[in-house]
C-alpha cells in the first residue's frame, strides 16, 4: 500500500473514528477543532506504529533544534519559485511532529493557540516546530546556484 491509497485509507479511519467517538464530543471546542484533533491523532498514531516497526524515529515533538536548523546560513535567498510537487516531496521528508504543525499552520491557516489545543502541546512548542519545519523545507527547496546551495 503506497502513496495516495494510503492517505485514503487513513481518511476512512478518521471518518469512522469520528463516527464512533461522536458521543464523546462535549462542545468544549468547535466541532471543526475537535475533528482536526482527532484526524491529526489518527495520522500520528499511524506514523508511530510505522516508526515502531522501523525503530528509528525520535519523539515527534523533539524540542531539540540544531544550530544549523536555527541558523539562517549564508546570505542570499535560497528559495525561488516553489514547485507544488517539490513541496509535497519535501513535506513528506519532515519528521511527523513538525510536519503536522506546518500543515496545520501554513497549509490550513490555523493559529499556534489552536494547533497547541489540537496536538496537546505548548504554544511555544508549536512555534519552535514551525520554525524547524520551515528551516528544513528551506534547505530542501534550495534553488540550485543560490548562495547557500553553492556553500553546501
Amino acid at each position: 500500500m503506497v502513496g495516495r491509497s494510503h492517505g485514503e485509507d487513513l481518511l476512512q479511519d478518521i471518518f469512522l473514528t469520528a463516527h464512533r467517538k461522536l458521543d464523546q464530543y462535549r462542545g468544549e471546542s468547535s466541532l471543526g477543532t475537535w475533528l482536526f484533533r482527532l484526524a491529526t491523532n489518527v495520522c500520528l498514531d499511524h506514523l508511530r506504529s510505522r516508526a515502531n516497526r522501523n525503530a528509528q524515529m525520535t519523539s515527534e515533538f523533539d524540542e531539540t533544534i540544531s544550530v544549523e536548523e536555527l541558523s539562517a546560513g549564508s546570505s542570499g535567498p535560497v528559495v525561488g519559485v516553489v514547485d507544488r510537487l517539490d513541496l509535497d516531496r519535501a513535506l513528506a521528508d519532515l519528521p511527523p511532529g513538525c510536519r503536522a504543525v506546518f500543515v496545520l499552520h501554513d497549509v490550513e491557516g490555523f493559529e499556534h493557540r489552536e494547533i497547541a489545543g489540537m496536538l496537546t502541546i505548548a504554544e511555544g512548542t508549536s512555534k519552535s516546530q514551525l520554525h524547524k519545519a520551515r528551516m528544513r523545507l528551506r534547505r530542501a527547496l534550495a534553488t540550485p546556484g543560490s548562495a547557500r546551495e553553492s556553500r553546501l
Binding site: V2, G3, R4, H6, G7, E8, L10, L11, Q12, F15, L16, H19, L22, Y25, G27, S30, L31, G32, L35, F36, A39, T40, C43, H46, L47, L70, S71, A72, G73, S74, S75, G76, P77, V78, V79, V82, R84, L85, L87, D88, R89, L91, A92, D93, R99, F102, V103, L104, D106, V107, E108, G109, K127, S128, L130, H131, R134, L137, R138, L141
Partner: protein, 231 residues
C-alpha cells in the same frame, strides 16, 4: 545590538506578522542590517504562501462510498449533531486528506494528483464520479437546510437576514458554476469552481446549525465568533 542567534527564533512570527510591536521593531532593525536574516524571513513568507496555495484536495468519490458502506444506519440518524458533523467532515476533509497523504513519502514517479482520478479512468467514469461527488454535497446540503429551516426561529432577525443573504449569493454562484460545467464537463476549473461553491454553502449552513446550537445556551461569544467566521 542584537545578534542573529537572538533574532532567528522570532523570524517565523515576524514573517507571519505575529510579533508584538516592540519585538517587531527590534527584528526590523536587525533585518535592515543583516542580509542573511532578511532572506530567511523572506523565504519563510514564500514557503507559507506556497503552502497556502496547495489548497484543498478532494478525495476520490469511492472513498465516500467506502465510508458510507461502513456506516450502516448513518442515514437514519436525524439528530442535528450528526448533521452538523457531516457538514464539518466535508470541510475538514481537505485538511485531513492533505496531512494523511503527506504521511507517506511521495515517489518521484508518483501518480497524478487526486483530482485526476485513477489513471485508467474513462471519461464516463470521471463523469460518474463527479456526479456522485456532487450528489454527496447536494444530500448534505439538503439535510442541513432542513435542520437550519426548522430551528432558525431561534436566531435574531438581523443574523437570519445576513445568513439568508449569504445563502442567496452562494446559490447564484452554484447555479452559474453548474451551468459552466454543463457547457464544459471536462473542465477542471469549472469543477473546482462548483466544488468550491458547494463547500462554501455547506460552511454557511454549518454556521447556521452551530448558531442555532449556541443561541439557546446564551453563548454569545461563540455566536459572535461564528458570525465573524472564526469558529
Amino acid at each position: 545590538m542584537t545578534t542573529c542567534l537572538e533574532i532567528q527564533p522570532h523570524l517565523s512570527d515576524y514573517a507571519d506578522a505575529a510579533l508584538s510591536p516592540a519585538l517587531r521593531d527590534i527584528v526590523s532593525g536587525h533585518l535592515a542590517t543583516c542580509d542573511a536574516c532578511r532572506d530567511t524571513a523572506r523565504d519563510f513568507e514564500r514557503l507559507r504562501d506556497a503552502a497556502r496555495a496547495l489548497g484543498p484536495m478532494t478525495p476520490p468519490p469511492f472513498v465516500w462510498q467506502n465510508i458510507a458502506a461502513e456506516l450502516p444506519g448513518a442515514r437514519r440518524q436525524a439528530r442535528a449533531q450528526w448533521l452538523g458533523l457531516a457538514a464539518a467532515l466535508v470541510l475538514v476533509t481537505a485538511g485531513a486528506y492533505a496531512f494523511a497523504r503527506a504521511t507517506v513519502p511521495v515517489s518521484h514517479n508518483s501518480p497524478a494528483p487526486a483530482s485526476n482520478a485513477a489513471p485508467m479512468a474513462t471519461v464516463e467514469t470521471v463523469a460518474e464520479e463527479l456526479a456522485i461527488a456532487v450528489q454527496h454535497y447536494d444530500t448534505a446540503i439538503a439535510q442541513l437546510e432542513t435542520v437550519a429551516k426548522q430551528d432558525s426561529r431561534a436566531l435574531p432577525a438581523d443574523t437570519a437576514v445576513k445568513l439568508q443573504a449569504s445563502l442567496t449569493e452562494i446559490d447564484k454562484y452554484i447555479a452559474e458554476s453548474r451551468a459552466a460545467l454543463v457547457g464544459e464537463p471536462q473542465s477542471e476549473p469549472a469543477r473546482d469552481s462548483l466544488f468550491d461553491a458547494l463547500r462554501r454553502k455547506v460552511s454557511i449552513l454549518q454556521d447556521t446549525v452551530a448558531l442555532v446550537g449556541a443561541m439557546p445556551r446564551g453563548d454569545q461569544e461563540t455566536a459572535a465568533k461564528i458570525m465573524d467566521g472564526k469558529s
